[in-house]
């Protein structure tokens, strides 16, 4: 394979990797701080894409303003907010009742929520995907990177996602807010003694993790078609990424997300039949050598 081809596949791998990173980051926050294995994460990512699609194509006519189309930039803010609030409602009214029990209850609940969301949307929308036509004009077209022609939009998605990921990492690992958050998990009683409302903090944190998934969904909408099963197709891979990175490790989620995207990209070029399974192969190897994952704390 020529150098150009390797560079090209690297770029493609990166553009898959940023989605893995954003989704596994949300999962890591929710698991690391709340101890919830959120199987609805893929469905909430899908919901983000659907909020963008519905905002553009259906909202205007529903409300009687036929000319209104919610644009991409608006969707980039509105979808995470709407889905984030939906997530907080799930946490407040459903998940909270299960914290006293084993992880598995949270897992089953969120899995059920995912199935319900997918079922409802499959009933109303085309399952093989609906085009999201609101990609902004500034980002349409291709740029010549020298070694390949690359869509401007994908370039934007890569840069934007990396910025969001590292900003999140910075807030959690390097600021006072983040340390309060982490302390609240370690010792809720103590943190409450300082006058901090821990249950509310937990709700907001869950909402934030979910909002990250929805944000990834909006970013994905112009690249892939919007379909009720887009999250289900992705979530298993993303869970593998989280396991490889180490459950709950923020940095691990980001770095392995990007890294495994690259590995997958190169596999697509070198041996396509293994492209969908290479990540699981790596997962097996990593678990054999380091059961806690690459960035996980050894117990």
């Amino acid at each position: 394979m020529s150098l150009n081809a390797i560079l090209a596949q690297t770029m493609l791998g990166l553009s898959t990797g940023v989605f893995y990173a954003m989704l596994s980051l949300g999962l890591a926050i929710i698991f690391g701080l709340l101890n919830v294995i959120n199987f609805a994460h893929g469905a909430l990512y899908m919901l983000g894409a659907f909020v963008a699609l519905i905002g553009y194509s259906y909202l205007g006519p529903w409300l009687g303003f036929d000319d209104y189309h919610m644009g991409f930039w608006t969707a980039l803010i509105v979808a995470p907010l709407v889905v984030g609030i939906f997530g907080m409602l799930i946490e407040r009214f459903l998940l909270r009742r299960l914290y006293a029990f084993d992880h598995i209850y949270g897992l089953l609940l969120t899995f059920g929520i995912a199935l319900i969301l997918q079922g409802i949307l499959s009933n109303y929308f085309n399952i093989s995907g609906t085009a999201y036509p609101a990609q902004p004009d500034v980002l349409s077209g291709i740029v010549n990177l020298g070694f390949m022609y690359f869509p401007k939009y994908r370039l934007f998605a890569i840069v934007f996602s990396i910025v969001v990921c590292f900003a999140t990492w910075f807030v959690i690992e390097r600021t006072t807010l983040g340390s309060v958050l982490r302390a609240g998990v370690e010792n809720p009683k103590l943190v409450e003694a300082f006058g901090i409302n821990v249950p509310r903090m937990v709700t907001l944190t869950f909402g934030f993790g979910v909002a990250l998934a929805a944000l990834a969904g909006v970013l994905a909408a112009p690249i892939y078609s919007v379909s009720p099963l887009m999250g289900a197709d992705l979530i298993i891979t993303v869970f593998a990424v989280v396991v490889i990175g180490g459950m709950g490790s923020i940095l691990g989620a980001i770095v392995t997300g990007l890294g495994l995207g690259l590995v997958q990209g190169l596999t697509q070029a070198l041996y396509p039949p293994a492209a969908n399974t290479v990540i699981f192969f790596i997962m097996v190897v990593v678990l054999l050598i380091r059961p806690a994952g690459l960035f996980g704390k050894e117990v």
């Binding site: 085009a131 036509p133 291709i142 869509p151 892939y224 070029a269």
Partner: protein, 403 residues
């Protein structure tokens, strides 16, 4: 009980009585048609609930009864699993006395059910699956393949493209039996016309990102990138090829199996100019428009070739029962083989001894957004591919029934 209801009950009773007295009659006092389809998965839009509506329309348009017996439509979701489909088919035939099964998109489902039903002397009319095996080495006594097959699909598309200068081909192939067979059939057509096949990438089924495969195909120096895949895979390939400017920079995409609903999913901006072979397009003539509008009023979407095929095949099946004077599989199958099929879907169609319904196919091209005048105004029909060119000749068929 009010008077009209009483009258209706009496009439129904009388009709049942007169039906029983007639010389010709249906077994078990009804003709039951089972629509076995994908109601929730990837092929839902292609066949699915729309096929059930189409079958019901056919029964209603026929007057709701044949040989004095009521026509009943039942349906079930095969979930794209051959074992689930087989157990539903077995139950339908053994316990519920279903006389004919229609639908069965998904080749694995189609092949499993066709074999099983034929053993139990039941007619199947496959409208959705692609595999030409249904009428080749795995053909069966009562199995009919109605709408399209992997032999016919590339004939129109590849011929047109090679003749327009698209000589060098590279394939992106869905990595399972259907994709391989579509690629091989297309390669045959390309080579016969003097074209060249540079290579093929086997992409895993349901990949979300095809850009890597597209880039490799694009880098091969081919004139044409042939998509030997279907449904969501085709939609994603075309969408991403567009995003990477592959078509813009002069390479052509050829979808080997494209449905109306795929074009709708892609949008005209992305799909414009794409050429493919289809058995039906709603806006082809007055007859097809008239039926499709009725379908649209019930389903909310224009019919795919598969859904139109369900209506057509159910109607001809009922006509065959009437002509044969029985709903037993043997006389009905014989009658179907002798009839000339003519309606809004098919002109001068004929069901061959191997079960293949050979009929004209059409080469379609997706309109540009400027050409399109309404929501479903999506295609131009470029040319007609006569039946004898589209389908494998009976003399070349590997079906054991012909020996």
């Amino acid at each position: 009980m009010n008077k009209s209801l009483l009258t209706a009950a009496c009439t129904a009773g009388l009709m049942a009585f007169s039906g029983a007295q007639a010389a010709d009659q249906a077994s078990n006092d009804s003709v039951k048609i089972g629509v076995l389809t994908d109601m929730s998965g990837v092929y839902k839009a292609i066949e699915g609930p729309g096929a059930v509506i189409a079958a019901q329309m056919a029964a209603d348009d026929f007057g709701g009864q044949v040989l004095g017996a009521p026509i009943e439509i039942v349906s079930a979701d095969h979930q794209n699993k051959a074992d689930v489909a087989s157990s539903i088919a077995r139950k339908w035939i053994d316990q519920n006395h279903v006389d004919m099964l229609v639908g069965m998109d998904n080749s694995a489902v189609g092949l499993a059910v066709q074999g099983l039903a034929s053993e139990k002397n039941t007619i199947t009319i496959n409208t959705g699956a692609g595999s030409s095996e249904l009428t080749e080495s795995q053909c069966s006594k009562y199995g009919i393949h109605y709408v399209y097959d992997t032999y016919a699909l590339p004939v129109g598309t590849a011929t047109a493209i090679v003749k327009n200068g698209g000589k060098k081909w590279f394939f992106i192939t869905a990595d399972y039996a259907f994709g391989h067979s579509l690629r091989d059939n297309t390669s045959r057509v390309v080579k016969e016309l003097g074209g060249e096949v540079l290579g093929s990438i086997e992409a895993p089924l349901s990949s979300t990102d095809f850009s890597s495969y597209l880039l490799q195909a694009s880098g091969s120096g081919a004139d044409v990138i042939g998509l030997a895949n279907a449904g969501g895979d085709t939609v994603n390939s075309i969408k991403q090829a567009n995003a990477f400017g592959i078509v813009e920079r002069g390479q052509k995409l050829a979808g080997m199996l494209v449905f109306l609903t795929d074009v709708k999913a892609l949008g005209l901006d992305t799909a414009k100019g794409l050429e493919f072979t289809t058995a039906f397009y709603w806006d082809r003539n007055d007859e097809s428009r008239k039926w499709s509008q009725r379908f649209f009023d019930k389903h909310g979407a224009m019919p795919t070739m598969v859904q139109a095929g369900v209506y057509s095949s159910v109607t001809h099946y009922l006509e065959a029962i009437r002509a044969a004077g029985s709903d037993e599989a043997a006389p009905v199958r014989k009658q179907l083989g002798e009839m000339q099929l003519n309606d809004f879907f098919v002109k001068n169609g004929k069901i061959e001894a191997n079960g293949l319904m050979s009929h004209d196919m059409y080469l379609a091209q997706v309109k540009t957004p400027e050409e399109s005048k309404s929501d479903w105004d999506l295609l131009n029909i470029v040319s007609t591919i006569p039946a004898e060119k589209a389908y494998i000749a009976l003399s070349d068929s590997a079906c054991p029934l012909l020996k």
